[in-house]
Amino acid sequence: MAFEDLSLAVQKGKSKQVKELVNAEIEKGTPVEEILNDGLIAPMGIVGENFKQNKIYVPEMLVAARAMSAGLKILEPLMTETGVKPVGTVVIGTVKGDLHDIGKNLVAMMMKGIGATVYDLGIDVPDADFVEKAEEVNADIVCISALLTTTMPAINDVIKEFEKSGVRDKYRIMVGGAPVNQAFADEIGADVYTSNAADAAENAKEYLTKKYA
């Protein structure tokens, strides 16, 4: 099977081996797009599936994501040269007044796992910073998180900031966090609500695949 060794190296989180195998494929002349899709993104899909089936935990997934990133770093300059389309760009952050970042970090990690370029704004992020960064990096998706019932309304403020700037429709806005639910997402006009990091990444993957098909 093609990329079997590379796939296993990604799944086991062996960064050094991933780098060696990616370089070997480049030297062999394997198309960059194939290495990216079949050698790096596909095994991360298997890792994600194993997580969903409760076979592994997040730390194992993180190790795999780091190994995948190591391979991706080698491919990135070649992708630009050869015109391979990027998977997509995600801007993520926790709203103003909220200091929680573990859930947000999980989503960021899972987004990296699908091959997206992720810009993590951190915690306690002012509304305007989401807009500014999304515009700066030409993002596809903006993920907004809140963990407190009292900071949840700030998600709406961020969306309003996008509207005020006249750029709301340029971005797919995904929302999440412990107190957030579908009804709230609908009420504030978010595009997507997911209850966990794995679903968020899956939803983003579907969207980006269609967008860049």
Binding site: P59, G97, L99, L106, P153
Partner: protein
């Protein structure tokens, strides 16, 4: 001068019971915590809404409505006493006048109920640790620390009985360690960073409490151990890591007591059981009746030895019977009523053991809370005096205990968690016994952008 603990506060695990402890705490109005009776501790929060100057009138009226409902229910159900925890929201700590205004509203209503109906109650003021709003955190100066001091001082002057906080020293390093189930970094965050911060922080809080007639009560490692518990519950990280974290935060918690806190320590600190075993101070816990705030695998065992029994927090939302804080109050009062009757009839140990046995074999996080195991881990902790070696030894002993429980087939651990026992044991094998050497190693590994070590240096270092 700080206290030292080199032995347990109990001679026998049979005396380690709920509602009573060797060093009870008495409030200004005579409510004794740990003096023989277990009381409810009710916490509540706002429904989803913005907190700003414009919404403060509405916020004031919501808190008024909540406290009236809670006190009325406590009176109607003949609660022998009650503790209210007011845990501010970050905006209320950043703007101390807002938090203090709410504290005043709550305290006045409590005083009224005592004057009119004889309902004795006490209030715990818990400002947020907003020092982490600066990244990397600025721990000992700046606007966030000053706002916290104003809140502590203002509340103490205005009659707060207990001062508490869920402090976050070292959390900026531990957050990533949790995601990676990285015990080595957690030992650094807790044993080397958090413990140093606790020493400085609790000396300061105790000074404020003592100067203003309040009680320096205690902390919670919520952002460390409870975050681990919740993530383990969601299937994100191994339960065995969360179980080790539960015990691992104890040396950090002990520093608060060594530096002036006298209890009752905060509700979400399940490590309180080790603290009670070592220091004999009263503790609060939460379990099955805090499912309104978060799920846990320790719902019953958490009720085995506390002196106050809490709901963690609940929003002011309407349920079929009434508002959620009132519902919580009723649940806690009935829990405490049963526990107190059992104790009065001489069945406290039986009650404790039933609560323990119903949970302890089903999850490693419950197993480490079993009273005999609490004593075993606590004895390991008091063998040394410095937080780093205490933390490292706690990790080793807790892993040994989990391994032993598994081998004796008395503890249920998922197959994928068994593999993690090996991984965690491997992670701590290489940790040097010498703290300086360990700090030097970790300084190399953790980027300075994440934390500022100089914020953790005490005069004695």
């Amino acid at each position: 001068m700080s206290l030292t603990f080199d032995r347990l506060a109990y001679d026998s695990v049979d005396d380690f019971l709920y509602g009573v402890c060797p060093n009870p705490v008495k409030t200004k109005n005579g409510l004794v915590i740990g003096g023989g009776e277990m009381y409810p501790e009710v916490n509540f929060t706002l429904p989803p809404m913005n907190i700003n100057k414009d919404t403060m009138p509405e916020i004031r009226s919501i808190y008024k409505e909540i406290i009236e409902g809670v006190l009325k229910k406590a009176y109607e159900l003949h609660a022998p006493g009650l503790v209210i925890e007011f845990e501010t929201l970050p905006e209320m700590t950043e703007n101390p006048e807002w938090g203090l205004e709410i504290h005043k509203i709550l305290k006045e209503a409590m005083n009224d109920y005592e004057a009119k109906y004889g309902l004795k109650s006490a209030i715990r003021m818990t400002p947020n640790d907003i020092r982490e709003m600066s990244r990397p955190p600025v721990m000992r100066s700046g606007k966030y620390w000053e706002a916290m001091v104003k809140t502590f001082e203002g509340a103490a002057k205005d009659g707060a009985d207990f001062l508490s906080v869920e402090s976050t020293g070292g959390k900026e390093v531990n957050d990533e360690a949790i995601m990676n189930a990285d015990l080595r970094t957690s030992i650094y965050a807790l044993g080397c960073l958090a413990s140093r911060d606790m020493k400085w922080l609790w000396k300061n809080i105790t000074e404020i409490a003592n100067a203003n007639g309040a009680i320096s009560a205690g902390d919670s490692a919520c952002g460390f151990a409870n975050t681990s518990m919740v993530l383990a519950e969601q299937g994100f990280i191994p339960k065995v890591y969360a179980a080790v974290m539960r015990a691992l935060v104890t040396p950090r918690a002990l520093v608060a007591i060594e530096n002036g806190a006298i209890g009752p320590s905060k509700d979400c600190a399940y490590e309180n059981v080790y603290l009670k075993a070592i220091t004999g101070t009263p503790i609060t816990l939460e379990g099955k009746s805090a499912a309104c705030a978060h799920f846990s695998p320790i719902g019953n065992i958490a009720l085995a030895v506390p002196d106050l029994w809490s709901n963690e927090s609940v929003q002011q939302v309407k349920l079929l019977s009434g508002f959620a804080p009132v519902v919580s109050t009723e649940q806690l009062i009935y829990d405490c009523r049963l526990m107190n009757v059992a104790a009065k009839k001489g069945h406290a140990k039986l009650m404790r053991d039933l609560l323990v046995e119903s949970d302890c074999y089903l999850d490693p996080q419950a197993y480490v809370l079993r009273p005999d195991i609490v004593f075993e881990i606590s004895e390991e902790i008091v063998k040394t005096q410095d937080p780093f070696s205490r933390t490292l030894n706690t990790a080793r002993r807790t892993l040994e205990i989990l391994r032993r429980g598994l081998e004796k087939k008395e503890l249920s651990i998922d197959e994928r968690d068994v593999a993690w026992l090996d991984i965690l044991e491997g992670q701590i094998e290489e940790i040097p016994e010498d703290e300086e050497e360990f700090i030097a190693e970790m300084k190399e590994e953790i980027p300075e952008s994440k934390y500022n070590f100089s914020e953790y240096i005490n005069e004695e270092d």
